[in-house]
């Protein structure tokens, strides 16, 4: 389990990193926290010729609030998400999600940019940024692009990012009045990738959802913003309403089967998550017992 030989460059700026990426094309790989890249290299699943280490690029660091936007640099580590007061105040969903990512040693190294660029469908942070309706800022030689999180993830380990682009920041609309969030995942052990998870951002008024963005993870090839959530908007949630939303959710999901869970089990767990989300944010359903 040794990586094959590779060259290493420490990029001094975004421009410098982009130059290297353009020069080497597919043979180069960006190194951020290394928590996904290094294991893959050590297992020789990938053997890049050049590693472009972006760890020292100060432009990619920092968490700042500008007006209605919370901007989070790509190099922000999971542990920073967990501890940042700005994030706790303006995007508490991320604080909660980060606590479910791996273990302390990995959270100390792994970065938000790396997690989003890696786009593991079972990851917490991609779903969270989708639920938050965030914008992902990427930089290429021709300039910056802003991509809605909902359009950024295109498949298993696939994103709208090209090999010559760098993810530089994530912009999250700051939490409004009456906003509420829910985060839960089912994983075999603490710190494992989830079998099924839900990151949800909502606006709750007078005991009703007026807005609900429910992003499921580990139940598809990318984070899935459930259309079924619309069935729960502006309506008092009864077991019947919930059952209908659940059925819709079951139809729209097409989960994969793996060693941890069959597709049927993932669908089932997603429904449980939706019910628990509703019950956590609005209280138990109006009539009938808990679900």
């Amino acid at each position: 389990m040794k990586a094959s030989a590779f060259s290493y460059a420490r990029a001094t700026s975004v421009a410098n990193a982009l130059e290297l990426l353009v020069a080497y094309g597919d043979k180069a790989k960006v190194l951020s926290g290394g928590q996904s890249l290094m294991p893959a290299m050590n297992l020789r699943l990938i053997s890049p010729e050049l590693i472009v280490d972006i760890g020292e690029i100060t432009e990619l660091r920092g968490i700042a609030v500008r007006g209605d936007i919370l901007s989070i640099g790509a190099l922000t580590r999971h542990v920073d998400l967990l501890r940042s007061p700005e994030i706790a105040a303006h995007a508490p969903l991320l604080t909660e999600a980060a606590a479910h990512v791996a273990h302390p040693a990995i959270r100390n190294r792994g970065t938000l940019g790396g997690s989003l660029a890696h786009a593991d469908p079972a990851s917490e942070l991609p779903a969270s940024v989708v639920a938050l309706n965030a914008t992902i800022v990427v930089s290429g030689q021709t300039g910056e692009r802003r991509i809605a999180a909902g359009e950024f993830f295109t498949g298993i380990y696939e994103t709208a990012l090209s090999a010559q682009e760098l993810l530089i920041a994530v912009e999250v609309p700051v939490a409004q009045k009456n906003s509420a969030h829910f985060f839960h995942e089912f994983a075999r052990r603490h710190g494992d990738y989830a079998i099924a998870g839900l990151a949800a951002q909502a606006i709750v008024q007078a005991g009703l959802f007026t807005e609900l963005r429910a992003a499921f993870f580990a139940v598809g090839d990318r984070p899935i913003l459930a259309k079924a959530a619309t069935k729960l908007i502006n309506i008092r949630i009864t077991p019947a309403v919930l059952a209908e939303a659940s059925a819709t959710l079951g139809e729209e999901l097409d989960p994969q089967e793996d060693q941890q869970a069959s597709a049927a089990m993932r669908r089932h767990l997603a429904k449980i998550l939706l019910a628990r989300c509703a019950s956590a944010l609005l209280g138990p359903p109006a009539a009938g017992g808990p679900v």
């Binding site: 052990r189 941890q260 869970a261 089932h268």
Partner: protein, 797 residues
């Protein structure tokens, strides 16, 4: 049987003023390991040392048509690429059978496959280079042409006539079969008021050691000697086998075992890649290092517990168990492991089922079959978790049929504490067990009645907790009956040499080994206590066939009971020798003297007479001042092997308190209790941590661990992300209590404690889950109890 910590009648040599016995004392090796100054084989560097990487078969079963290593051999810093055929000129193949396991058969296994590979992961070539990374690069360019053969993967089909026979010379895929019929089983079932039966399924899993298997082999052509540095549990066994297959005398092989990063039975076997490493050193005449990486570890470290066992139990309405019957099937891979064989686990299952209970009616069949998967062999608590889960699962099933509480049915059937000595239907002889005392202690520790009340109250809120109980027996301190009688050169005795050096310190060489259990600590505790010397003055040397007495090592929960007794006896002799000399010097008599706190004292009042340091000075440097004719002997050696009982059985009971989320199938472990009886407790903390560690491995089996093979014999989760080891986040608090029934086979009275935790933990959890699911009418007899398994049983998916 006593619940007190020591029996003064028997523990005279240990029950001394400064005794360390029964005390928590820090391990002497703690500081060294905590400061990162341990020396593991992985750390070792020798001049001219080369690194070997094994190219391994991607197929479960295939013919090797050709190997093209031309390109690899030309790569810079590559020393050699060696095939199985080439290596066979230096090392002979082996067959993993023992004569006392009647009918056990296996085929010759080579260090590196020659014509055919029989499991995914079997080595087909060795690539030797100046570094592991270079060797891995070169391995990628070796081209092997295979012709795939049908793979036998499902153990249930291994014996079907249409299934290919893996080793045609053996005739079929049956490696071993054992049948036992004791008492009057049919009549007992006929007279039973209720009978319960179930198919128990156990996931194949493995013992994941923190440090992988690692070897440095150094053939010194000038000395004509091979030095093997290896993390092994049995250095003398390795010495013998390496010599045998390399055509050397045992005396030409030295095995050195420094620090070992976990073993759990994984490192008590002879692996093909380790044999290949010894042979490569001989062939290439330089030191060669092999350190398994994690993927190799999953593919080649022995697996265990792949069993399917049908079980049946009969009971009278008053709860009396009338009979047990089992039919066990296990698949062991393509070869029986060398030299301990892969029939032992099934054999143990037959031996142990029903073991805690009184019934004499027991019928068993066990069949061991070959398949194209990695080899299975002995891993911590060999056979016990299978036997315990089947027995205890059946007891709960039948208790539920007659509406009896699980504790009550056990109380009515466990062998009475005053019924010893006695024997089990399978012929196991029990010297003294304490099932009832252990159960009573458990009830108090866990507050059984209160928990039952809590469970009932929670059910009303749709919260489903369960209580699971599992009584067990454990095989420890094996005599020659385990391996020696079958012809294996695996010693069941151990030896300890103790000497007082010239400054009054003690050097102690023992043949048991240390892999984290605390062998070093317990040896120093015993020697210090018996001699009257403080532990800091006792230096323990282990793991070197040139420098320790000959012995078995540390496995089968034997280190403390056997090696500890040898230490006690050796220290007793040295003490006598010291007192004889002291009496001469002091013109006193040995009976009037004692050794306390590193000095000879007057026995009656403890007044100091002469420091050991001073006595040693006289003996070593001024023997001229001693009376004529006196020859001091400040070194003593003793060996010990149990002679009366083939095994020192221990017993205990475990309980698990869990919650099942019936919406998701997730199990939460809330609390675990163990009461066990390992006889004399030398270091309570070491014993408790052995129990806890063992429980954790059992909990891993219950909920998480499984080697998942596909139908083509590919291990699909050979990494730490997909193979789930138990981790601290999921582990409950584990309370440990003891009952103490020392064995009278030794003065020390210690039995083993290393495997008790693993023996019963999974059974307790499985029973707890079924207890929690009772309102749903679901019964699960399969582990690991994954959310998928539980949701399926609940009909939710």
């Amino acid at each position: 049987m006593t619940v007190a910590s020591a029996n003064p009648d028997r523990l005279t040599v240990l029950d001394r003023p400064n005794s360390y016995i029964g005390k928590v004392v820090p391990r002497p090796n703690l500081e060294r390991l905590m400061q990162g100054r341990g020396l593991y084989v992985s750390d070792m560097e020798l001049p001219r040392m080369a690194h070997v990487v094994f190219l391994r078969s991607p197929h479960a079963h295939a013919k090797i048509i050709g190997i093209d290593a031309v390109e690899a051999r030309r790569m810079p810093n590559v020393i050699a690429v060696v095939t199985g055929r080439e290596l066979a000129t230096v090392i002979t193949p082996w067959v993993g059978v023992l004569s006392h396991l009647k009918g056990l058969k296996s085929a010759p296994q080579h260090a590196i496959a020659i014509d055919r590979v029989c499991w995914q992961g079997e080595a087909v070539a060795a690539v030797v280079a100046t570094s592991r990374a270079v060797a891995e690069d070169a391995a990628e360019s070796v081209r092997v042409e295979y012709q795939e053969l049908d793979a036998v993967t499902d153990m249930r089909a291994a014996l079907d006539p249409e299934t290919p026979v893996i080793h045609p010379s053996l005739g079929d895929n049956l490696a071993f079969e054992r049948n036992l019929d004791a008492g009057a089983v049919d009549a007992a079932f006929a007279e039973s008021d209720e009978v319960a039966e179930a198919d128990f399924i156990f996931g194949r899993h493995t013992g994941v050691t923190l440090e992988p298997r690692a070897v440095v082999a150094d053939w010194n052509i000038a000395e004509q000697r091979l030095t093997v540095y290896q993390g092994t549990q049995a250095p003398h066994m390795v010495q013998n086998i390496a010599a045998l297959h390399l055509g050397l005398a045992d005396s030409q092989v030295r095995v050195v075992c420094k620090d070992v990063g976990g073993s759990f039975g994984i490192k008590v076997h002879i692996y093909a890649d380790e044999m290949a490493t010894y042979a490569l050193s001989k062939l290439l005449r330089r030191p060669v290092k092999f350190v398994a990486d994690r993927v190799e570890s999953f593919n080649t470290d022995i697996h265990a517990r792949d069993h399917r066992c049908k079980g049946r139990i009969g009971v009278k309405r008053d709860g009396t168990i009338t009979a047990f019957e089992i039919d066990d099937l296990t698949g062991i891979g393509p070869y029986s492991m060398y030299p301990r064989t892969s029939a032992i686990e099934a054999n143990q299952v037959v031996n142990l089922v029903g073991g805690p209970y009184r019934t004499k009616n027991y019928r068993a069949r066990a069949r061991v079959v070959f398949q194209n998967k990695n080899l299975m062999c002995q891993y911590r608590a060999v056979g016990h978790p299978i036997a315990c889960s089947v027995t205890e699962g059946l007891v709960d099933l039948v208790a539920s049929k007659i509406g009896m509480d699980p504790v009550e049915i056990r109380r009515r059937n466990l062998i009475a504490d005053d019924a010893y000595p006695c024997a089990s239907p399978s012929g196991l002889r029990f010297e003294q067990l304490s099932h009832h005392a252990a159960m009573s202690k458990l009830m108090t520790m866990m507050g059984y009645d209160a928990l039952r009340a809590e469970q009932t109250a929670l059910r009303k809120k749709n919260i489903h907790h369960g209580i699971g109980i599992a009584s067990f027996i454990e095989v420890t301190n094996p005599s020659a009956a385990f391996y020696g009688v079958g012809g294996a050169r695996i010693s069941s005795q151990d030896g300890v040499a103790v000497r007082l050096d010239a400054t009054g310190s003690v050097i102690c060489q023992t043949s048991i080994t240390e892999q984290g259990q605390g062998s070093e600590s317990l040896t120093a505790q015993i020697v210090g206590s018996v001699l009257g010397v403080s532990m800091e003055r006792v230096r323990v040397i282990l793991g070197d066939t040139d420098n320790t007495p000959y012995g078995g090592g540390t496995w089968a929960s034997r280190g403390a009971g056997i090696g500890g007794e040898a230490a006690l006896q050796a220290a007793k002799i040295l003490r006598k020798n010291v007192l004889d000399i002291a009496a001469t010097i002091l013109q006193s008599s040995p009976a009037e003297l004692d050794i306390v706190n590193n000095a000879v004292v007057t026995a009656s009042d403890g007044s100091p007479r002469i420091e050991l340091r001073e006595l040693a000075r006289i003996v070593y440097f001024r023997p001229d001042t001693l009376p004529p004719g006196i020859q001091a002997e400040l070194m003593a050696t003793r060996h010990f092997v149990p002679r009366e009982y083939p095994f020192a059985f221990t017993n205990g009971v475990q309980a698990s308190w869990i919650e099942v989320d019936t919406d998701t199938g997730f199990v939460k472990l809330l609390k675990h209790w163990v009461v066990e009886d390992c006889g004399t407790i030398i270091n309570p903390q070491l014993v408790d941590e052995q129990i806890r560690g063992g429980v954790v491995q059992g909990l891993g089996a219950a909920l998480f661990e499984k080697c998942i093979y596909d139908e083509r014999g590919q291990l699909t989760n050979a990494n730490m992300a997909d193979y789930l080891v138990p981790m601290s986040g999921e582990m409950p608090d584990i309370d440990v209590g003891h009952v103490v029934s020392p064995t009278t086979e030794s003065e020390l009275g210690a039995k083993g404690a290393g495997e008790a935790g693993t023996a019963g933990a999974a059974a307790a959890v499985a029973n707890a889950v079924n207890d929690a699911l009772k309102p749903f009418g679901a019964i699960i007899t399969e582990i690991p109890l994954t959310p998928q398994v539980i949701l399926t049983a609940l009909g939710r998916i």
